[in-house]
């Protein structure tokens, strides 16, 4: 690996000169011949303190990467479970500042943290300041569900300047041209939405997921992680056949909400076993 050299210049799709901790985890999983488990929880649910403990516990129980959600008043990519959890978090007074505390705690525990945030929260803090704060907390980068690369000029520059990964989404509706644009701007990994829809558990993860991953692999060598709808061990194992990472959100949020940290750990262990079932 070459030493870190970052330029502040805005160079869209700049080559990664250093792998982030998250990217290193994905590379290690690939070397092991398995998919990574990416677990999502929002900061502040049920409280800031418990959510941070839960994220660290999830990492210890087998989540390879933690996706730290930032509660937002208008979460248009989220289904009912995450909507309710983030409403609780906001009613409890959760602030954007708390996100950096969570990232710091996760990094200090030796795990890789990405922040999943709606764009207005980044804009409001200032894109460069948000990036600086995330980098100094030890975060790997941002997952941005409502930001497309076409609108991301400031973020491309800030992520280069602060050595952060940027994870854009691709979807079953993405044309080859859009796949190329999205993946060309990604660093770290690509987030492939398994279905057309919002977050939430689903009975089955449809065949669209496999198709979108195949299409994505046609245009990039980056790891491709699949999210939306995965809730149990069997689904995790199924997605792990073709994806580099399996992203689970609503099911973990429900487990935490219903059974506290013990239930969260139990589900995490199940899912971690699932991603190890499909060796490649």
């Amino acid at each position: 690996m070459t030493p870190t050299v970052h330029s502040a210049a805005a160079t869209p799709a700049a080559p990664a000169v250093r792998l982030s901790p998250g990217a290193q985890v994905l590379a290690a999983c690939r070397a092991e011949g398995r998919a990574a488990l990416v677990g999502y929880l929002p900061v502040g649910f049920p409280t800031v303190q418990t959510s941070i403990e839960a994220m660290v516990a999830m990492a210890r129980a087998g989540a390879d990467i933690i996706e730290v959600g930032v509660p937002y008043s208008d979460p248009l990519m989220d289904g009912p479970v995450i909507q309710r959890a983030t409403e609780t978090a906001l009613e409890g007074g959760t602030r954007v500042d708390d996100v950096f505390e969570a990232v710091h705690a996760i990094s200090a525990a030796g795990a890789a943290a990405y922040v999943m945030t709606y764009w207005n929260l980044v804009l409001r803090r200032g894109v460069d300041r948000f990036a600086a704060d995330l980098a100094s907390a030890g975060g790997c980068g941002l997952i941005t569900p409502d930001l497309i690369p076409d609108e991301a000029g400031e973020w491309l520059a800030a992520s280069d300047a602060h050595g952060l990964d940027r994870v854009f989404l691709v979807a079953p509706s993405s044309t080859p041209e859009r796949l190329a644009i999205a993946t060309g701007a990604c660093r770290g990994f690509v987030y492939a939405a398994s279905t057309m829809g919002v977050t939430g558990t689903r009975e089955t993860v449809g065949s669209a997921a496999e198709t979108v991953v195949a299409g994505t692999r046609g245009v990039t060598d980056l790891p491709v992680c699949v999210g939306l709808g995965v809730s149990n061990r069997a689904q995790a194992a199924d997605v792990a056949r073709f994806a580099d990472g399996v992203i689970v959100g609503s099911a973990l949020v429900s487990a935490l909400g219903e059974g506290g940290i013990p239930a969260l750990e139990a589900l995490t262990r199940e899912l971690a076993a699932g991603v190890r079932e499909s060796r490649r």
């Binding site: 208008d74 990519m77 764009w119 057309m196």
Partner: protein, 400 residues
């Protein structure tokens, strides 16, 4: 990025999930082609003449104008359109586009219910399935419109998350759209949202200003000194403003909902109390806190009760081409009653904000001034609110 799509200065853009980009690209392409296709233009024109009731008339209102510093006041009567407001202009255009794209289902958000009623109407006319999302608070405030939409065959979904008002209805409509984009067109009701909505919706409403400018020239022989319109998302305002943008002598004045007063924090005055941000797909002015969380808006008028505003208005505001003022609930309701009593016209409470603006601007400019006001809708839907506000009925007469 070199090319910034759908921008008005720094505002606008497309801040939406990647999953929606192909649908937005398709919509943009189809509406551009339709705009120059004689068949499409002819069909929309025919519907406007034979169904909407266009051109809408203008009415000079001298008895009302006596309360506007003696200025001459002319109303553009969008309230006389079928379904009772300007909203139908946009909805018929988008419903025809939905058919062109082969979509069989339309969805819409609605606050006051006027856009929902217009969408349900167009869906009935063109044989489309229709689902309307409406905040649960608004379904209670505007219960009659819920019944109207159901009569027209639409499904009305009461949205119970978040603040249970218009912004949450937009969120829910966007979630539906992502999941059903193959079959469904999202008939967005105002000049907000991701590109191409702000531009497309404006273009469908541009007819308001095109007609009014010619009608005023015909009646008075000169251009108005000011054009006034209420601004919720800003569609009736962009519709009447656009034809006057290149007339430098014409002041363009948008009236936002000042609610209980801008200093009370309970208002929807984005240009007095908001800051730059992104909401529902567009970079614009937003009511938000220090973290970027949306702050709930407040207004007596459900149609103006929205925490963000169309990006083109943000651009007109920053360039100074248009000015924006806040009108309080109380000022709007006084203007509402005044128009009823002086002219025999019951305006929508939304439009009453523009009337209150005319009262203030007329007094500033004096008797030589000529004001053109967008009367965006009629007040039938607001009779209940007005009866309560002015104490017009007692319990025995059926006031709950």
């Amino acid at each position: 990025m070199s090319e910034q799509l759908g921008r008005f200065g720094e505002f606008g853009g497309r801040y939406v999930p990647e999953a929606l980009i192909p649908a937005l690209e398709q919509l943009d392409e189809v509406r551009r082609k339709a705009a120059v296709d004689p068949e499409f233009v002819g069909e929309l024109d025919r519907l406007h003449r034979t169904y909407t009731g266009r051109p809408s008339i203008i009415t000079e209102v001298p008895r009302f104008a006596a309360h506007c510093g003696g200025a001459r006041v002319i109303l553009k009567r969008e309230d006389l359109n079928h379904t009772g407001s300007h909203k139908i202009n946009n909805v018929l255009g988008q419903a025809l586009l939905a058919k062109r794209m082969g979509k069989t289902r339309v969805i819409a958000e609605t606050g006051a219910g006027q856009h929902g009623v217009a969408t349900a109407t167009a869906a009935a006319l063109l044989g489309l399935e229709c689902v309307v999302y409406m905040g649960a608070v608004d379904t209670r405030r505007q219960a009659l419109n819920v019944a109207r939409m159901r009569l027209l065959g639409a499904e009305v979904v009461a949205v119970t998350n978040g603040s249970q008002t218009l912004k949450d209805a937009v969120n829910e409509a966007l979630r539906d759209w992502v999941a059903n984009v193959d079959s469904t067109h999202y008939v967005l009701g105002t000049v907000t949202g991701p590109h191409p909505f702000p531009e497309m919706v404006r273009d469908f409403h541009r007819i308001i200003g095109v007609e009014a400018r010619a009608q005023v020239l015909d009646l008075v022989g000169r251009l108005p000194d000011a054009v006034l319109a209420c601004v919720g998302g800003g569609s009736n305002a962009m519709g009447i403003f656009h034809r006057f943008l290149l007339d430098p002598s014409v002041r363009l004045i948008g009236l936002e909902a000042g609610g209980e007063g801008v200093h009370s924090g309970r208002h929807a005055a984005r240009f007095s109390g908001g800051t730059r941000g992104v909401l529902h797909g567009a970079a614009t002015y937003v009511l938000q806190d220090d973290d970027g969380q949306t702050i709930e808006s407040h207004s007596v008028s459900a149609g103006l009760d929205y925490p963000s505003v169309g990006p083109e208005h943000a651009h007109l505001f920053e360039t100074g081409r248009a000015e924006y003022r806040a009108v309080t609930d109380d000022e709007a309701m006084q203007a509402f009653r005044l128009l009823c009593r002086t002219e025999g016209i019951i305006p929508a409470i939304e439009s009453s904000h523009a009337l209150a603006g005319a009262m203030a601007v007329g007094r500033e400019l004096g008797p030589e001034a000529l004001l053109l006001v967008s009367l965006s809708g009629r007040g039938d839907k607001d009779v209940h609110t007005a009866a309560r506000w002015f104490g017009l009925l007692d319990d025995a007469e059926g006031m709950p």
